[in-house]
Symmetry: C2
Subunit: 375 residues, 2 copies
């Protein structure tokens, strides 16, 4: 993760947005990161099918690609017959995008801007906004803000968003494998801390063992932060629930700044352990390409990072339940998710998950609540 702003000092609040943008964009400037995106078969084929499969809607239209990266989506839009494509990218990946257009004789159709969309000026409004803006569990990285900004500034009133609709999913999981990874990291960090404390005590005579305190939080990354996982289908304990639906044409900044939803998770499957347990929740998203009310898609593409589908670079986001829940006789879990931007970094979210088991006889377990960081 090139992006590690978690411990950003408060001292820097005055420049924090610009500063964090630079750190954020620097992460995506590396070829390594771009390769991860380019190697994601589901990602590439979804956009390719959504755009080329609806070439009639692109033919002769003006398109804006927000955060074009290496420029692939813009090139596809141009090939689909777009009259003009404006591609904007804040990172050095823009150099690659420019070369891609020249190499494919698309540089007359596609104009590539090295800029943030917030600072971009265009000579005209656009018919379609294409963007691959989705972070883990959809909202991580908060790039949707930039897409909504672009929509409000540049999209014609009868324009279309690609993707047009997004959903966030949440599901109950039991995975010893994934929990072990988190605990291994925790214990490795703890060990490093103990070694350091020993060295300092041996050589300088100061006892620092008891001093980590709140600062020790970084030891517990994974316990209090969500983390990227690839859940195996048998590890899912029940169907996923939609916790948020977003219509990209009408949603507002406020809609995505806070997501709060109460819901029930059905437990209809137990991983082979006695007693049956839950030790994790998993979140992911889908993005659908339905076109607009004025120009609906002929081919409707849906890109969904469910554990039941082929793996993507996004995977799912895991929220570890530190003390596994006993699911004996439990057939549902009453759940609430409450997500809001972290105070320190607007590209991250605090995610509070509150849950309570409910047995077949209606008996409720204790209400438990954990605050995670989606970072």
């Amino acid at each position: 993760m090139g992006f590690s702003g978690k411990k950003m000092s408060r001292e820097w609040d005055g420049v924090v947005t610009e500063v964090e943008d630079v750190r954020y964009f620097a992460g995506y400037s590396t070829l390594e990161r771009q390769l991860t995106l380019l190697s994601d078969r589901i990602r590439i084929s979804s956009y390719n099918a959504a755009i080329l499969g609806n070439a009639d809607n692109f033919a002769g239209r003006v398109v804006l690609d927000v955060g074009c990266g290496t420029g692939i989506l813009s090139a596809i839009a141009a090939r689909a017959g777009a009259k003009k494509v404006y591609a904007v990218e804040a990172t050095d990946a823009v150099e690659f995008a420019k070369k891609l257009m020249v190499a494919n004789n698309l540089d007359d159709v596609v104009t590539v801007y090295h800029n943030t969309v917030e600072k971009l000026e265009l000579p005209e409004k656009v018919d379609i906004i294409v963007s691959e803006f989705m972070g883990n569990f959809l909202l991580r990285e908060s790039v949707m803000d930039s897409v909504l900004f672009a929509r409000d500034k540049f999209l014609k009133s009868d324009g279309a968003m690609y993707p047009s609709h997004c959903k966030m999913f949440f599901a109950p999981v039991y995975s010893e494998r994934l929990a072990e990874d988190v605990w291994d990291t925790y214990h490795r960090n703890l060990k490093s801390w103990e070694v350091a404390a020993e060295v300092v005590f041996d050589l300088a005579g100061f006892d620092i063992k008891s001093l980590a305190g709140e600062y020790e939080d970084s030891l517990t990354t994974g316990l209090h932060s969500s983390f990227g996982v690839e859940v195996e289908p048998p590890e899912m304990l029940g169907p996923a629930v939609v916790v948020k639906e977003i219509d990209m044409l009408t949603t507002t900044f406020e809609d995505v700044k806070q997501v709060k939803k109460s819901f029930e998770l059905k437990i209809d499957h137990c991983v082979d352990q006695k007693p049956p347990k839950l030790n994790m929740f998993a979140g992911w998203f889908s993005a659908s390409f339905k076109g607009s009310p004025f120009a609906p898609s002929l081919v409707e593409v849906n890109c969904n990072n469910s554990p039941l589908n082929e793996d993507t670079h996004w995977g799912q986001e895991g929220f570890l339940v530190r003390e596994p829940l006993d699911l004996t006789n439990v057939d549902k879990i009453l759940c609430e998710i409450d997500m809001s931007r972290t105070e320190k970094n607007w590209r991250m979210y605090d995610v509070r998950v509150t849950h309570q088991t409910c047995s077949t006889d209606g008996k409720l377990g204790p209400q438990l609540s954990t605050l995670y960081t989606l970072c």
Copy 2:
């Protein structure tokens, strides 16, 4: 490496220093990074011996600790009898430093500031500046600038610097082991690139294979960047040469912004390979604690990251020679090193190494030159 500013966009020049500082400091805010520093036995014991071994020079004096991190050096100075210690730290590690002082009843002697030394104001001048500012090959990270700034602003005219003197060393090396690491990374990156190109071609029909161009530079990290190594003593092909000596009391910013030196590397030892070869240069530093002309150290401590000494967290910095040099009948290498700050990031250096083999009969090989980034 929390610090990965290599691909910083030019667009951001206006805020680049402040921005890079934030990214830089964020790296040191993590407990993980601090643990690496605290676990370095040579580092801790050198400062401990230099300060406590010269407690007479610290007794009753006023001390400034520049970049105090977790505060260990300040605590040692206080224990050595300093009347007052000002400890300044720009990262969140400062919280730890504050706790350390309270836990050891040193908070009346040590005042901890959460600030950069450039913005710090003190109520008085100081007798001694203590700082662990050294980066790999001494100059990486450019923290010495802050120490020199502190010296010019806060140190009394008869004050002392701890450390007082630094040296930079350069040596000829042959290590298949270390070269293999670099090439493995290179080939792994190349493979990722090929996979991505294949996916894009298969699914979207664009041929991007030939497009990486200059952007491809990030594939060759290690080939054009120096990298941290731990050279084994038998891998050294001859004695190290001092390429720079720095007196911390008198050196200037200009002195460390550019380092240029011509020198000869003697080849007096060959690793067991036929023909004998060189495939790397290694750079490291030493820091000595001699006190000042007015208050020389009784116990003179010297911390040296030579491959011949116990490992430190710094280790050495390796500069790979892509095509190994044939050393048959070669008894010396004519060398020039020319280091200057990179244009994109003042905490990094461009390092040009020019070299030419010289045989026992005086015959010169071709003059070769490589530009590396110390990043």
